[in-house]
């Protein structure tokens, strides 16, 4: 503690006055013979202990008054040890490193850690001696070298005032290195780094070397380090966060129904019960649930919502808030597919329903939850239709179309239409290759018969599916037991395809038979997609149609071919990352706006895509065209890095060892806290209170 006006402390000697008065006041009381002395004696005996206490209190209060006033006038101030040491060592060039990572947004109830950190930074600046130059490093992910330490306190103060916390982790190692390098630019021998942070474990990499500065002879020296804890020495900062959000269509619950699987993690030592998880669309909360989060554990909650119409939806999933609210919200942008209009071209109709080529496909597409609204025609009728009114065509065991129809089909696919082709007895490879070779994934070769249905051991000789690309959106649900219905299917006949030729470039084999022949082949042609199934969708060549996997396979293939399966994947980017937008048709993005309304830089690439970012804040980013109209399909969400939600505090011992224990000083919360009300005010208040109570005692 130091005093601004130490001479006033001499006044504290006045506190001895009551004692001296007590010791030397030997005035002889007036003797008085008194008749009723017995009553005086009795009264004195009765009040003796009370009077003694009263006299003691009076003495204490008077001493307090006479002591508090001169000390208050002397203006006492708390000073940190580090400052006292600095006074002894001489002036030091100082670099103030202020942690601006996401975790500094933690709100303790009395303001955020960053606000506290900013106060500590201002206090550090105030504490500098006039001959000590300084600079400030606001430790954001893109922190720049701060420049040589300077004496312009106003400028440094404005850097601190303007500093804002980011939404990203901060690399304190790098910031300390920047600070150390900048200190080398000062001619002063002593160097000092003041580090203001919440000291979370993730912010430091203690495996890397600690910062050093060059000494007079070029030798590395450890600077003095003052650690100021914005979290005020709290052992832990309890936090929970949404660490993952998976959005998937829930076809079983109907078309345009999605399930939002929220994964939340508790980073604290105590379990958290009844944590509310809610799904918000726009400003409206549409679904809620509760989570039980064990200590340092995770829990999942599935929230389901059915969208009435297709379109682009923005929303968020949120947990009930805690100190760090930012990581309790996970924004998303979701493209909900519109209804798929499909034309099923039945190449082998039959009056016996179950013998009809399209019987099983029709059943799959018209089932509950199907996103498809189908129209069924025979080949002749279908080829007269305007394909433009459909999103998807099914060609089921159809003979090769005439050239004009083939041209319509190619144009349909290249303009973005989806085409599903299945084989059958009506399919002639040569004719097909000639008519639709431009869009087939691979040219057709010939039909292979693995077994004849009904013959002995036909099932044993029939082909099965071999390799299946389970990573592809069409097959991704068929993992584990769910794939049983797929691998158990028997295929008696199937069309062999040519090896990858020139025309076959870009084809992707999604599944093969056990002999390696392709079963499902995919090709992107223009803006459209074509899936070729080399067997039949009725029971003529295979029994896949009666397997449990058939229905989801057909529905997912339909969704995939119209582009709605991938689009249902959440479009998101990590905060700090860049995103590549793929404009379609005549979409011409002109500006990208962050959730706060700030413009985000973007760059057009040669392939027509646009790279934008970095996205510096979480939330939904809006893409607008030249007329300012929002392009809904390009809207995307930026989400936080869940690593920064872990607010586990670093072991200060380890940190001190890293810096070098001899060089570390603590500007702990107590010292860092400049009292809002100066100490002298409290002293004056105490003196006034003592004066009041003395008066009360004297009146008694």
């Amino acid at each position: 503690m130091t005093f601004a006006q130490p001479l006033f402390l001499l006044g504290a000697l006045a506190a001895l006055i009551p004692l001296l008065v007590h010791l030397f006041d030997r005035r002889r009381p007036r003797p008085l013979p008194f008749g009723a002395i017995a009553f005086v004696l009795r009264s004195q005996r009765r009040t003796a202990s009370r009077l003694k206490l009263r006299r003691l209190l009076l003495y204490a209060l008077r001493t307090l008054i006479l002591l508090a006033i001169p000390i208050a006038l002397a203006r006492p101030q708390f000073r940190r040890d580090a400052q006292a040491a600095a006074l002894a060592r001489g002036p030091a060039a100082t670099s103030i490193v202020l942690d601006a990572s996401l975790s500094m947004r933690y709100d303790t109830g009395q303001g955020t850690l960053f606000e506290k950190g900013r106060e500590l930074a201002r206090a550090a600046l105030r504490d500098l001696r006039a001959e000590e130059p300084a600079n400030v490093v606001v430790c954001a992910p893109n922190a720049q070298p701060p420049g040589a330490p300077l004496f312009d306190r106003g400028r440094l103060r404005s850097i601190i005032d303007d500093a804002k916390p980011t939404f990203q982790p901060a690399d304190l190692n790098r910031c300390l290195e920047l600070a150390a390098r900048s200190l080398e630019e000062s001619p002063l021998a002593a160097k000092r780094i003041v580090l203001i942070s919440d000291f979370t474990q993730n912010a430091f990499h203690l495996e890397a070397p600690a910062p050093t500065v060059k000494g007079p002879n070029g030798e590395p020296l450890r600077p003095e380090v003052i650690l100021r804890d914005a979290a005020g020495g709290q052992k832990a900062l309890p936090n929970r966060a949404i660490v993952d959000l998976r959005i998937e269509p829930a076809l079983q619950a109907g078309p345009r129904t999605f399930q939002f699987t929220v994964t939340a993690r508790n980073f604290s030592d105590e379990a958290m019960n009844d944590v509310e998880a809610s799904l918000r669309l726009g400003d409206q909360t549409v679904s809620k649930g509760f989570l039980e989060l064990p200590a340092h554990g995770t829990a999942q909650k599935v929230l389901t919502w059915r969208f009435e119409d297709g379109g682009t939806f923005r929303g968020a999933v949120a947990l009930s808030g805690d100190g760090l609210r930012e990581d309790d919200v996970r924004p998303f942008v979701l493209q909900v597919p519109k209804e798929i209009r499909a034309l099923v071209v039945n190449g082998a109709p039959s009056s016996v329903r179950y013998r009809d080529e399209a019987f099983f496909v029709d059943a799959a597409l018209s089932s509950q939850g199907s996103p498809v609204r189908e129209s069924m025609r025979d080949a002749a009728a279908a080829f007269r239709e305007d394909f433009g009114q459909y999103d998807l065509l099914y060609l089921l065991n159809v003979a090769a179309p005439p050239p004009d129809v083939a041209a319509k089909l190619v144009a349909f696919v290249e303009n973005g239409g989806g085409l599903f082709i299945s084989m059958g007895d009506h399919v002639e490879p040569e004719a097909w290759n000639q008519a639709l070779g431009a869009i087939l994934p691979r040219p057709l070769r010939l039909v292979k018969t693995a077994a004849v249905p009904g013959e002995e051991e036909a099932a044993a000789h029939a082909a099965k599916l071999g390799q299946i690309d389970l990573g592809h959106p069409i097959f991704s649900p068929f993992t584990g037991q769910a794939g049983e219905g797929l691998v158990s299917a028997r295929f008696y006949k199937y069309m062999l395809l040519e090896a990858n030729g020139e025309k076959g470039q870009g084809a992707q084999i999604l599944a093969t038979f056990d002999d390696g022949a392709p079963a499902f082949a995919l090709a992107r042609r223009g803006k459209g997609r074509v899936v070729l199934f080399t067997s039949t969708v009725d029971r003529d060549w295979s029994d896949l149609a009666i397997r449990t996997s058939f229905l989801p396979l057909i529905q997912r293939t339909s969704s995939f071919l119209t582009g709605s399966l991938e689009e249902r994947e959440e479009m998101r980017v990590r905060v700090g990352g860049t995103v590549t937008l793929r404009p379609e048709g005549n979409q011409q993005p002109a500006e990208i706006r962050a959730p706060s309304g700030e413009a985000v830089t973007h760059k057009a690439n040669e392939d027509g895509t646009i790279t934008t970012g970095p996205a510096l804040e979480p939330g939904v980013y809006e893409v607008r065209d030249g007329r300012g109209q929002a392009i809904a399909s390009l809207t995307f969400a930026a989400v936080l890095d869940p690593a920064e939600s872990d607010l586990t505090r670093i072991q200060m011992d380890a940190l001190e060892s890293w810096f070098g224990e001899a060089t570390v000083k603590h500007g702990d919360g107590a010292n860092g806290d400049e009292p809002r009300v100066p100490l002298w005010t409290w002293l004056i208040a105490a003196a006034a209170a003592a004066f009041f109570f003395e008066g009360v005692l004297l009146r008694k």
Binding site: R27, R28, P29, R30, P31, L32, P33, F34, G35, A36, I37, A38, F39, V40, L41, R42, S43, Q44, R46, T47, L51, R54
Partner: protein, 295 residues
């Protein structure tokens, strides 16, 4: 005429003061306190010519067949003994221009003596001071008054209060029904002293208490630190009076209440007398009560 204490204190000697008080009292009375004579049988005497025939005791003649004449002693209306507490504490006076409690007691006793003797009542005196108990038996003779007044004149406060012993003495000496007038501050360390004194009432004596107090004892008007000295022994205490005033007043109030309650319980007339009060008024009030209450 009202005789205030200051005026009275300027009169030198108990005789003057007592007379002044008595005259004040007489001028305040509306009728004579003289209540007529009574006679009391003394002895028989054989009849001789010249004796009053109406005094012949015919019952004795019946028994002895001789004429006896009753002889009667001419008696006063009343026998009164004034018991004065002459202890050192009675010598206290807070106002140097005023009277001590003992002077007030002597003045009251003197005035009462005047009044008693004037109406041919017998007046006696008992003074208790330390070890000494002085006594002048009650008589109605005019010359007796001077004796009483001289004794009162000579009173000097000394010794401790010994009401207990005085009570014993009076109980022993007073063979006939008497009026005992106690003049004291009642500061007796023996808790049951007053009760003992009031037991005289049980012996058919009439008892009246003049409780003499100095105003300072009642109000404790001291401010500066004071060394209080006992007037009867060597006790002393240094206190800040302001600190104990409240407690003192409570203690003293309780003492006064106790005295008053005890007197009432014993059917004893109680009169609190402050040394700055007009004494003729005190006596008038006392006599008025006796005329009305006891006849």
């Amino acid at each position: 005429m009202i005789l205030d204490a200051h005026t009275l204190s300027k009169l030198h000697g108990v005789k003057l003061r007592a007379r002044a008080v008595m005259e004040g009292v007489l001028s305040g009375l509306h009728k004579s306190p003289h209540q007529g004579q009574s006679v009391e049988f003394a002895e028989h005497k054989e009849y001789a010519p010249g004796d009053e025939i109406r005094h012949i005791d015919w019952k004795a003649y019946g028994k002895f067949d001789k004429y006896y004449v009753k002889r009667f002693e001419h008696e006063t209306n009343l026998r009164a003994v004034m018991l004065i507490d002459g202890s050192a504490s009675m010598g206290y006076r807070s106002d140097p221009a005023g009277m001590t409690k003992l002077e007030v007691a002597a003045t009251l006793a003197g005035a009462l003596s005047y009044l008693l003797v004037r109406q041919q009542d017998a007046a006696g005196l008992a003074v208790v001071a330390g070890d000494r108990i002085g006594e002048i038996p009650p008589r109605a003779a005019a010359g007796h008054l001077n004796l009483l007044l001289d004794e009162l004149e000579r009173l000097e406060p000394h010794g401790t209060t010994r009401l207990f012993d005085a009570a014993d003495l009076l109980a022993e000496k007073l063979s006939r029904r008497s009026l005992v007038i106690v003049l004291s501050d009642l500061f007796d360390d023996r808790a049951d002293a007053l009760k003992r004194l009031l037991q005289l009432r049980q012996r058919k004596h009439d008892v009246a208490v003049f409780h003499l107090l100095d105003p300072a004892e009642l109000t404790f008007p001291f401010d500066d630190p004071t060394m209080f000295l006992s007037m009867e022994d060597d006790r002393r205490i240094e206190v800040n009076p302001r600190e104990i005033k409240q407690s003192y007043l409570e203690e003293f109030g309780a003492f006064l209440d106790e005295v008053k309650r005890t007197c009432a319980a014993a059917d004893v007339e109680y009169e609190r007398v402050l040394t700055d009060q007009p004494l003729d008024q005190v006596l008038l009030r006392f006599l008025g009560r006796r005329q009305g209450g006891r006849g």
